[in-house]
Amino acid sequence: MKIAIKATLITGLMATSLMSAFTGHADQSKGLELAKLRKQADSGWQDSQATLTMELKNAAGDTSLRKLRIKSLEVNNDGDKGLTIFDTPRDVKGTAFLNHSHAAKPDDQWLYLPALKRVKRIASRNKSGPFMGSEFAYEDLSSFELEKYTFHFIEETTLGDQGVYLIEQVPVDRYSGYTKQRVWLAKSHYQPLKVEFYDRKNALLKTLELKDYQKYLEKFWRANTLVMNNVQTQKATTLTTTKLKFKTGLEVNDFNKASLKRAR
């Protein structure tokens, strides 16, 4: 009798674990499929030049405004290239940040310090660190690549009045500051409306809201307002795109160390 119970228990356990393995597989393939649709919907823009403002807010409600410009180049079969130029605060005016995102390995990053005329390499681990004292980490601003995560589809639901897919994505890179991200993808254009970031202790760290979506070149949906709230420190950063142009003729030689030195 005892043996029989044990046997049933074991079979039961095996069945459930098998089932969860099966559904887990289905979740993964559906998650990846949606991530592919997300990537696909935002492919073919070639290059862009954006002017942005970044408002930093601390827990006491004090704010500070930064102005920056970002040049981006789409790279097929690898991560995109980005060049960020800071216009304010005035003491860092002319500081420029070059990022070569990679799909499967850590990004290559350099910082140009105009006062010293020096280009400094940034250690790959710094990706989890804050970008310019903001609530955005360097990795939050890196390009979205399928190889960077494993995806799990959670459910179809609504966010406000919009139909969304909820996906969980786990970073592959061990230097990532996150154990997982929960992403709400709009059913209408497959771009994220909200992201939750979980820290290394698997506790909710930040929530990102992506708002004011606008369609560019009749195809590409981009959020003009990104609000990152740190739920642990009550600090917040709002990144607002004030100007955005696509297909401006940027080339790969606008994204090397020499162009970093002359970026203004």
Binding site: K93, K117, G129, G133, G177
Partner: protein, 388 residues
């Protein structure tokens, strides 16, 4: 001199040529600074006992077009005591144009080579403006013609450097000065400052490695200090130098190496090697703590870093005001009581103001060490800057 004039004319032509179309952007810095010394100068009664103040201004004008960048950066400092520290300079007056894989620059500018933090061995294009700061990071503008080619196999740079700038050195009316009065500089070249130096550099990024190889031929930027009864005469010899700088990035680690072979009045080898390790988000905060350790060796016996270890910590608060603190210690391994320490702290006050506090301490009980003359020059320097 002809070349310098030519250089200046070409720059002015380029400036006037681009003077239409797009507008100039103006920015810059105005700074007040106060130094406090703990002991009175051991060398001179004319030097300030404790307090030395200064006012500095550094305006910058830039014009950007699709294919060029024009920069004018002037600099001036007025010191309360030291006539040698009251000086002005053209930091930049340059026209840069680029097309495809190439860049061409003419005018006055600054060039930085290297990867290490405790000293910059390979970096020899610009003269050090040593009255500006004790760390040697400040440089005088250098007239140059530069051509750059960025190719698949790496980046090639070529410089022609007409005119030589002598190093600024504090006078005995100021602090951090040499012990006896400075005499006029002397030169090995009969052309004195009107020499034509040249340099080439190859650099490349291969996966996780940044590598550079450089060659320089011209006037040695570092003066030989010749002592006589009437004072100290800086002597600028000719030299050639072959240098290399290598940096590898591995996760949290940056590995660094710089080495030179320099053939001047004497021939010597020198190197600096070490690492920078960054702990991101220490104590569950947004702060980063960087650990720096570097070892320096030189065959030159009177070099400051002849057999020395540097250890440093850099704490970045990553906050709205960009607070940063750096502490560094340089220990001579041949002379236990010879070391220097520095503490740097800085932060922003609102959008346009920035404060910085630097403190230096020096120790040496060995008369033959170059640091010995600074042993009573411990100081704290507070600066307040307005950026416009």
């Amino acid at each position: 001199m002809k070349l310098t004039a030519l250089c200046g004319c070409a720059t002015l032509f380029a400036l006037s040529h681009t003077a239409h179309a797009e507008s100039w952007q103006q920015s810059g810095e105005v700074q007040i600074q106060q130094r406090g010394f703990f002991q009175k100068s051991p060398h001179s009664d004319k030097a300030p006992k404790h307090w030395q103040g200064a006012f500095m201004v550094e305006p910058l004008w830039q014009k950007v077009t699709e294919s060029s960048l024009t920069s004018v950066k002037l600099f001036g400092r007025i010191d309360s005591h030291d006539k040698a520290r009251t000086h002005w300079d053209i930091r930049e007056l340059s026209y840069l144009t680029y097309w495809g894989d190439y860049e061409f620059k003419i005018g006055i500018d600054k060039v930085f080579w290297g990867v290490t933090e405790s000293q910059h061995l390979v970096d020899v294009i610009n003269q050090t403006d040593s009255v500006e700061g004790f760390d040697g990071e400040d440089k005088l503008g250098q007239p140059m013609v530069q051509f750059k080619a960025i190719k698949e196999i790496g980046t090639f740079d070529f410089w022609l450097l007409p005119y030589f700038r002598a190093r600024t050195l504090a006078s005995t009316e100021g602090r951090l000065a040499l012990p006896t009065p400075l005499q006029d500089a002397q030169y090995e070249s009969s052309n004195e400052q009107h020499t034509l130096d040249f340099a080439i550099r190859y650099s490349h990024t291969i996966e996780d490695w940044d590598i550079g190889v450089s060659y320089f031929n011209g006037t040695n930027r570092e003066p030989y200090l010749q002592h006589s009864l009437s004072g100290i005469t800086p002597f600028y010899a000719q030299m050639w130098q072959l240098g290399t700088d290598i940096q590898g990035v591995f996760g949290d680690w940056l590995l660094k190496f710089e080495a030179i072979h320099r053939d001047s009045l004497e021939s010597h080898f020198a190197m600096t090697t070490g690492f920078e390790y960054t702990q991101v988000g220490i104590f569950d905060t947004a702060m980063d703590l960087g650990w720096i350790a570097e070892y320096s060796f030189s065959e030159q016996e009177n070099a400051i870093n002849q057999n020395d270890v540097f250890v440093g910590w850099r704490l970045a608060f990553n906050d709205m005001d960009g607070y940063e603190v750096l502490f560094g210690l340089n220990q001579d391994l041949d002379s236990q009581h010879t070391f220097s320490a520095k503490l740097e702290a800085s932060g922003r006050l609102g959008e346009n103001w920035k404060w910085q506090i630097d403190a230096w301490a020096f120790a040496s009980n060995n008369l033959s060490e170059p640091l010995f003359i600074f042993k009573d020059e411990d100081f704290v320097e507070a600066s307040l800057s307005y950026y416009f």
